[in-house]
Symmetry: D2
């Protein structure tokens, strides 16, 4: 089990960028990954300062990602980075991933993978040709009880799935907000065709497909801009249909005042139901037709090993977002070592973009049922 650490290069994540620091915390937690290189910011001073703060060799703090790929590829195999993590605004995800793959590096990318479906399809080709690992940081799939929910459904324990309710609602954009986080999320050039749905609706879509094991096939969507002057949706709801007759409702919103990161899902099958809330991730609710509702808890002895192995502490010591995020890193590291694909790979990238494009198309066309063409 003694393994050398995987070496990571980061694009984006300069000082002041929230998500970059979160990635570093998650990558660091289990001691299996080492940050060795970075193109943290297009501002060379910021990039250098960030690297210094993180204890990086200054020679491996780059001014842009192209330079980084070139320079790292030129290093001896035993010291150059193994993979690139992409934590830039959305519009840079694809160009950086492309450059990394072409330079021979595995890629872990924030979602969305690309700005549109065409790019996602190109990315898929690139990944397939490269023979490298590619994964999206669908953080919420890193929660072990989400994996357990998927296992319960897959085992047929709730019968055929019938109905899914999934939503991701926040309140932080209920009024005009002027900060870096808000700026790119509301800018079509940097976020793609959708704001709220592209940012967080995709998490809801991804979670629904993951737990049910079904692909979403059609949506009838109504996206909204509630805050005047905004160019992209800050709210939306959609009816949807999945394979095998599953139906559902998906909502995402950033104008639900007082809500934080309220991602939740409820799945009902013929004989049972499951319910999970991201903000209370250590409980999974299970309903029956003829028995009391159960609260399945993190790290409990009654969980299968595949689930309980995802916890670092015994029951009752809450684990949260960073641990879930670290699980995504662990899974990616393991996939690199084993040369296998991950559940959050490029196929999901394509599906996510197709989902967003279908939503936007439906909403622009009187909410007509629109196929997700992935």
């Amino acid at each position: 089990m003694t393994q050398s650490k995987l070496r990571m290069g980061m694009v984006g994540g300069g000082q002041g960028a929230f998500i970059g620091e979160v990635h570093r915390l998650a990558a660091r937690l289990d001691g299996q990954i080492e940050l060795v290189a970075g193109a943290f910011s297009r501002d060379p001073d910021n990039s250098a300062a960030t690297g210094a703060l993180l204890g990086l060799d200054s020679s491996r703090c780059y001014v842009d990602f192209e330079q980084m790929m070139q320079a790292e590829a030129a290093l001896p195999e035993e010291s150059r980075m193994d993979f690139v993590v992409i934590v830039t605004p959305n519009h840079m995800h694809f160009p950086v991933a492309k450059a990394a793959l072409q330079a021979g590096f595995h890629v872990l990318s924030d979602k969305p993978a690309t700005l549109n479906l065409d790019e996602a399809l190109s990315l898929r080709d690139l990944v397939e040709r490269s023979g490298k690992r590619y994964a999206l940081t669908h953080t919420y799939l890193g929660y072990p009880l989400v994996r357990f929910a998927r296992e319960i459904v897959a085992a047929g324990e709730i019968g055929n799935v019938r109905k899914v309710f999934v939503e991701y609602i926040q309140g932080w954009l209920a009024a005009e907000v002027e900060n870096k986080q808000a700026a790119w999320r509301t800018d079509p050039a940097r976020s793609g065709p959708s704001g709220c749905m592209g940012d967080i609706g995709t998490h809801a879509h991804n979670l629904a497909e993951y737990i049910t094991g079904k692909e979403m096939t059609h949506v009838a969507a109504d996206l909204s801009i509630f805050v005047e002057g905004r160019a992209l949706d800050d709210d939306g709801s959609a009816l949807f249909r999945m394979q095998d007759g599953v139906k559902g409702v998906l909502s995402a919103s950033q104008i639900c005042v007082g809500k934080e990161n309220s991602l939740s899902i409820r799945v009902f099958g013929e004989t049972g139901g499951l319910e999970w809330h991201q903000e209370e991730p250590n409980s999974l609710i299970r309903t029956y037709s003829d028995r009391p509702t159960e609260t399945i808890r993190a790290a409990q002895g009654y969980l299968p090993d595949s689930v309980s192995s995802g916890y670092r502490t015994p029951p009752g010591h809450p684990e949260g977002y960073l641990e879930a995020f670290a699980n995504v890193y662990l899974d990616f590291a393991q996939a690199i070592r084993e040369g296998r694909d991950v559940a959050t790979g490029v196929a999901g990238a394509v599906r996510g973009m197709a989902f967003v494009e279908a939503l936007v198309a439906s909403s622009q066309n009187q909410s007509v049922w629109t196929e997700i063409d992935a």
Copy 2:
């Protein structure tokens, strides 16, 4: 304040009928209403036995509602019934209401008021011409915190309303069920054009309009029959739009295994939000953008009198469904005494039927946006 009791006649509610007994409990609770007459069942023996059990004079246990209207109208004013409560299956609501109004009695009716919109419009005319009170038992409006939610919104305290999530989900029809309750709810001839939506979706619709003070104008609906062999929807979801740009999602389902009577609503305005769950009716959640979320509690001293007067016991003594139901009776009794209209009057009856018809039409037409024509 010493008032003589109002005298009530009941149509429906024979032995074995759940809802009739609930009505009697609610009517009895506050000691202001007395059951004096009944046409409890089309089975004369059942009707007589029910009346006997309830201590009614056998001369006032009727074999059908026509006989009841005629005989009661012939009694001296000081002894004949003041109003009729209708607790039959849906298809009888309108004929009985019509007969009662025409015989000069006020009417309190279970919802839906009628089987379709045409009947509802006729009913509205009848009510207007009669000069009598007519109300639907929208029980959930009887919860004082629902009234408080309406007052908060009306006072502008959450800003202009933007988004509404409302749902009513149950699990009891997730499999085929063979009992009296299930039988008429799944029979078009007795339930009207919709099963689940007509039965409980209308409560969700009614609650959303009541709290927001806005009329729902359009729906894009997807109704489903999940249990094979059923003739009416047992599940459905709809995107909707209300006056003044409010948007929302409404779901109703009877196939959500393990769910009981999970009616809940969340309303988000520009500056705040409200959340209420029927199964925990003594709390109202209020969210802010810049302050902690509050849990407003039943019967508390900080509530306005208009709300706290709806409670019979001090804070911390849970009040529930029967008390809410009794509030509907109290309000109706008061309206009769004062000769005023009630919030749950015939206008809502028309709106409810128009809502159901719009849902069904939309669902049959590819979920196209359909106007609620009330």
Copy 3:
């Protein structure tokens, strides 16, 4: 099943007295009890006005309880009251009960039964000699899930009981309060030797004994007066021991700011646990060592008939304090009809007083372990 109503006379409960009205609501709910007589207040005008408001014959509104007992006993059996309900301040409970029993009436009394243990022992003798029913309105035993908790324990399903946590905390006396409710509760002459413990600690004691089926044998108590100038405890906690090695902690407080009627109990046995909260009375939590925690819900099909029969509505329609109270009335009425004892009879009255006296004695004596001598 056709039964004539039981006729009730009430002592106390004049206009402005909260608890009298609650009794009347509870007695009325199921239509099996009729209020026919009252000595509602020592103020004859109040008594008469209360009776008039309630539709009582003025001849049966009495100026004091002695007159009431005498006059009612003189009425023909078919019209005189069957039982007396006592809703006066504490110090009157015993004298009224005594008079009623001696006049040949069954008695339902608010707790505490008497002001001290000596009176309680006298009361026990009186009851035994009278051959009449006597019961205390331990309202919280009226919740069907409390009964289910008792059944689970009695069936050995959680193994031998080891530890009990029980508490009843309120906040309404956290500051000086000037009203009728507060006045007598803080007056030794009207409340007996304890304030908070006598008022609500006894509910906690009673609940613990009822669910576990064990008698509390010893307490080590620390009672407090936190609000200056008060003559009786407004807070207290006690370690306790029960039969068969059960240990526990009991707290009661009226100075816990923001708390309403937070009565809760947790019972842990060798192999399982139970948890119930009065403010969410429709759920009973059950814990296991090797399975997920369950939430048992009111009125569910999986409950035994002995429990589900205590509900008036299907699952998901919350029932609360008034329904529990009405169950106490129903049980008492049934006991009268069957000539049997009730679970909340005079034995509990003696136990409750002995409990309070032991608490006070322990607290006055350095919290030394003190036997409950009942």
Copy 4:
């Protein structure tokens, strides 16, 4: 802000020891601490293997702590460890701390600091003479909302504190358990005079003192051994008194079937209350006498900087036990850099031991009130 990492040596925490790995996760999370040396196990193979797995230089994997102190002290200042973390069973805490302090190293120790009060007093002397930092890993003080609770109380916002309820209950020792964790916790030679109270009761004590800012002065305790054959308490409750008239109840138990790490505290002052549960650490409940109860949430903008700075992610991304633990490490690292004391320093070590000794003495002496002599 660019700081070199602090170098850490670990005593205990060999493969198979749960808590050592938790420490390493916590120490690693923020990238400010580097593990450089270890005496992980008395089994040299285990120690070496653990070090290898962690990427340590084999020359710095020691066979015992004495050797470690000597060898590290002999290294040049710029490479030798800065501090020692002690994660052994309880009986080794003091000897290792003593050796470390005497060799000139700062010490971070699992609690309890020592096996008894005498040792704790010696430790205090040692710390004072050494001029080095000493801290206990009272992990639960690492939750930022716990710090906020303390600030609210200190600012007088709930008035003078009156009553405290604190408890820490688990279920994992409800039956005989045979594993390493259970073995030393139930062995007096390795755990000291108390089992459950020493292990987790001390957390409850520490939390109560921290939030209220008051010292606990007296206890009246009842400790129990429920599982036959066990030598130390597996359950206990105590009445307690604190400075300035504060009263309370403390319970700790390891036989509460189904409970995980249920540490919770409720503090009531004259005008408000606070409630916090370790298993839902991202919420702090605040009660008022005349306003709705508030749920204060982690990382919210309305928190003071002193609190919000303790979070690594925005609101709604749950942080948990590991993040709290990492905060303890951050605080200790900062204290070393600044040469200042920490809130969880040696004074608390003495207080904790005095608390345990008072509990045991009281329990052995008929639960008589016993002074905590610290």
